[in-house]
């Protein structure tokens, strides 16, 4: 029986520890940041060019710049002299949980805003719009999705593209052979070795693969976008005050024209670590977004 008081204490400590993030959440993110003087940012490790490590292990990228703009706005809003920034790498598997349990206050990376996720977290104004397109060899003669009938096409397993491609094949009876590779690198290998005539994926990622290819000039990104996805910054659900500060920060970056500069820096110029240039022109969807910032999900 000597153990039981100790156990009871342990249980108490555990309960306190477990409820601490919940407490912080109730009090509002802005209040927590003001009281502690610390904000924790969630970032990705290799989502090029959105959020990744450069060769000096610094977090950089298109989304990271938007996140830092939001941090500045938070600092100004709360009239803080100094705000300590803690960086926390997240993965696609744990990012939602880390936002929910209060470990991370805001995450800007390559997270798609969709209605399923909105049940768990809230999304800021959209920072990027991608479309699912095709990467093909320039001399292949393939211009759009109907050209794929009866051909071998590769996509990455577990992505929206895989779902869309298989559904299109079934609905339109196109007779494609769909190959599901385990990651983007293997998908590109399948395309490069001639096993597939096209690789379907998010356009930004396809431009990234093109830039990494041995001979980037051989490849092209073509086709009508089959779906659009909005990347947004994740924040905790039901925290309107915090979301408002982040939203207006993103909106003002877009209104001031800084957004185009950030875009050109990451998509139209050489980027670390290898000095690759993605050469991805600003799409009409992105132009529309910069003109009228919003937090709408496409699906």
């Amino acid at each position: 029986m000597t153990n039981s008081p100790r156990l009871a204490m342990l249980a108490m400590v555990a309960t306190t520890l477990l409820s601490a993030p919940a407490f912080a959440q109730d009090a509002g993110t802005l209040k927590k940041i003001k009281e502690t003087g610390v904000i924790t940012l969630g970032h990705r490790e290799s989502s090029i060019p959105f959020s990744y490590y450069d060769d000096k292990q610094q977090v950089i990228g298109y989304s990271q710049e938007f996140m830092l703009k939001a941090v500045e706005a938070i600092k100004a809003d709360q009239k803080l002299d100094k705000l300590e920034i803690k960086l926390m790498p997240v993965t696609s598997a744990n990012r939602i949980t880390l936002i929910q349990n209060g470990t991370v206050d805001i995450e800007c990376g390559s997270t798609t805003n969709n209605t399923e996720r909105q049940k768990q977290v809230a999304f800021s104004n959209t920072i990027f719009v991608i479309g699912t397109k095709l990467m093909v060899k320039k001399d292949s003669g393939i211009k759009d999705f109907p050209d794929l009938a009866g051909k071998n096409v590769v996509t990455t397993a577990g992505t929206t593209s895989e779902r869309l491609l298989r559904k299109m094949n079934e609905d339109k009876k196109m007779g494609m052979n769909v190959i599901s590779a385990k990651d983007h690198g293997e998908s590109f290998l399948t395309l490069e070795t001639g096993r597939a005539v096209a690789f379907m994926m998010d356009d930004a990622l396809l431009y990234g693969e093109t830039a990494k290819a041995k001979r980037p000039a051989d490849w092209d990104v073509v086709g009508t976008a089959q779906s659009k996805e909005a990347y947004g910054c994740m924040v905790r659900k039901d925290d309107a005050a915090f979301k408002k500060v982040v939203d207006s920060a993103i909106a003002s970056v877009m209104a001031s024209g800084d957004a185009v500069k950030i875009y050109n820096k990451w998509f139209m110029a050489p980027i670390p670590p290898k000095g690759l240039n993605l050469n991805m022109p600003l799409s009409d969807e992105m132009k529309a977004l910069y003109k009228a910032p919003n937090d709408k999900a496409f699906e």
Binding site: N152, A157, G158, R166, K167, N177, S180, K182, G194, R195
Partner: protein, 245 residues
């Protein structure tokens, strides 16, 4: 823990509209069985030949057989699979290689997976067969040669009938292993049981149901294999040896 169970998910039509999710699992189940059985036949056939060669008095032949076993036994299965699937077509003449690569990807994946699993397992089967042959008392071989059998006849009528019956238990393990090893083939995109399980997680967000179903399916396959091999073992047991009457 806040997980919402939904076993009905298997009867839902799949997101791509071609089948139910149960249909997907069944496709993967058939693929695993077809792949493993064809690879096993290949392994048994090649493994027996190589195993015999390892024990023949000819130094060159036994040396070659040993090289074969060491080669296929000592390279990780995943590496071998990638060699067969990604590298081999590049070594073919360009026109032939391109024609092959443009053919139906499921056939390509199946062939690469079957050859890879078959050769890998054949090296292991060869070792079992060799140990079975070497475990026989030397008197059996000598006696049969003394009464005028050729070496080939000695293997055919005296040594192999004994050796194969002795190695049924270790062969059972190899047979079970080939079904489990076949899961590696999901890495080249072959939609076998393990791959379909992962697909289901991606498409339905019901990981527990999917992986429980996959586990049960593997268990079912292996229980059937185990009992059939037990039956075979009891049937061919050598009287007078361990476990025999």
């Amino acid at each position: 823990m806040g997980y919402s169970w939904n076993w009905g998910v298997f009867l839902q039509p799949s997101a791509t509209g071609d089948d139910t999710y149960l249909g997907w699992m069944f496709y993967g189940f058939k693929m695993t069985i077809g792949l493993s059985l064809s690879a096993w036949l290949m392994a048994l056939f090649l493994g027996s030949i190589i195993g015999v060669l390892r024990t023949v008095p000819n130094k060159v032949l036994s040396g070659l057989a040993m090289a074969y076993v060491e080669l296929f036994r000592n390279i990780p299965l995943l590496v071998q699979l990638f060699l067969w699937y990604f590298v081999l077509p590049e070594l073919l003449p360009a026109s032939l290689g391109n024609a092959y690569k443009q053919s139906n990807p499921v056939v390509q994946q199946f062939l690469a997976a079957m050859i890879c699993l078959g050769l890998f397992t054949s090296a292991r089967v060869a070792e079992q067969v060799r140990s079975g042959i070497s475990s026989l008392p030397p008197g059996q071989k000598n006696a049969s040669l003394a009464i005028g059998f050729t070496l080939a006849q000695t293997y055919r009528y005296v040594m192999l009938p004994m050796a194969f019956r002795l190695v049924v238990p270790p062969l059972t393990s190899e047979f079970l292993n080939i079904f489990k090893n076949s899961a590696v083939c999901s890495t080249i995109g072959l939609l076998e049981l393990a791959a379909e399980g992962r697909q289901l997680v991606d498409y339905t967000a019901q990981p527990y149901e999917s992986f429980i179903a996959v586990t049960l399916a593997y268990l079912l396959i292996n229980v059937v294999v185990m009992f059939s091999m037990r039956w075979l073992e009891a049937h061919v047991r050598v009287p007078g040896y361990i476990g025999g009457k």
